[in-house]
Amino acid sequence: MCGTCGCGQADEIKIFKPGEEEHTHTYVHSHDHKHGIETHGHEHDHQYAHLHKTDGHKHTHKHESEHDPHDHDHQHLHGHVHKNDEGIDVENGHGHHHDHQDHDHHHDHDHDHSHGRQVVIEQDALQQNKLRAERNRGYFEAKKLLALNLVSSPGSGKTSLLEKTIKALKEKTNIFVIEGDQQTMNDASRIDAAGAPVVQINTGNGCHLDAEMVNKALKKLDIKGEGILMIENVGNLVCPSLFDLGEAQRVVVISVTEGDDKPLKYPTMFETSDICIINKTDLLPYVDFDVERSKEYALRVNPSLKFFELSVKTGEGMKPWLDFLVEELKKV
């Protein structure tokens, strides 16, 4: 089962650089073929050896034989397993004939109650992710990278914010980007056009990035030099909140076209973030979004949250954000 969404398929995480073929599979997953179930075992007797090739989801069978067509000899062995009264498997059922005469049964019951053994575990479900996140964090520190994890609902302007930030800061520092989306290279292409090295993670059905995906993307990104690493998470205000990627700071972006009660509706995301960007402020005259109320709600959930109000489109309010990045970079 897929670990990110629980669908019937194996994980299908793909990682690309711009210009790479979209159908290159970074992770080819194999399928186990199970022939037969417990009671009816099928035995296939193939006369010719054949090769199973897994290609995406299609299975092609290559038969190494000069004879074509050829016959498969399928031998189906139907073994019926019957359980007798003592619960012992008996092969090939046979008739039991019991003559019961009237007689008294005297049963001595010796009950052996087995309550099993107790194994104490006390382990955090996300421990594995936390360990991998710490590994990423160590890498960022060693490479002198300021790593930020950008989270938001879809459409709040994360990618546009990155484009503008890259263009504004590329003379001052390196900016590297890891893009997370369920599908498409669209965001990575935009970042590439803005002039930053980028790797796209397609999570398939997955609703968030995790530390391992970032680790694999980092290998592909092959960062040279110091600078800022922007990790744009999958647009989703719920799931990414639980997955530490190893970032130095988490940035939640909301836009004024959303409800100003977002921080109360999705508190976990605001509770785990360090910075809150309120985007699209140029639209404030046309919407009912109350900036002060939204900030008050966010501060209830997380009293140490730091805010930036800006419009990526007009550039208004971008300067404090850019200055902040430059200052934070000095601390790394």
């Binding site: 969404c5 629980g6 996300l126 609703c207 997380n302």
Partner: protein, 113 residues
């Protein structure tokens, strides 16, 4: 949706311990889920049902123990029960909680044969 990846992680942890203990089967898995953990109960139960299929835990009873939220008020030091991240301190009314429990997502124990 993240309940599935959490469930898969939990089953992986359980399997590791079950195999180490030479379990023939797992009768029960006990989980601790904090009320502030951001996990939906129904989704978690559904996800666990799916995640244990075809494993040693196949027929295990999934027992979920909820851990209530507790916070220390950073403003006045009062310890209080917290149901939401945005609950004010029960004593001074400040929105300044330091969460001390309720975020758990843990595999507590197994019962095995």
């Amino acid at each position: 949706m993240h309940e599935f990846s959490i469930a898969v992680n939990m089953v992986d942890i359980a399997l590791e311990y079950a195999e180490k203990s030479n379990a023939a089967r797992v009768n029960e898995i006990e989980l601790e889920i904090g009320e502030l953990s951001g996990v939906v109960d129904d989704a978690m139960e559904f996800a666990m049902e799916a995640a244990i299929k075809g494993t040693l835990l196949e027929n295990a009873k999934v027992k979920i123990v909820k851990i209530p939220g507790l916070a220390n008020c950073r403003s006045c030091g009062n310890e209080f029960k917290i149901e939401n991240f945005f609950d004010p301190c029960a004593k001074c009314g400040a929105y300044n909680p330091d969460i001390i429990s309720g975020k758990e997502l843990r595999v507590k124990s197994l019962n095995i044969d």
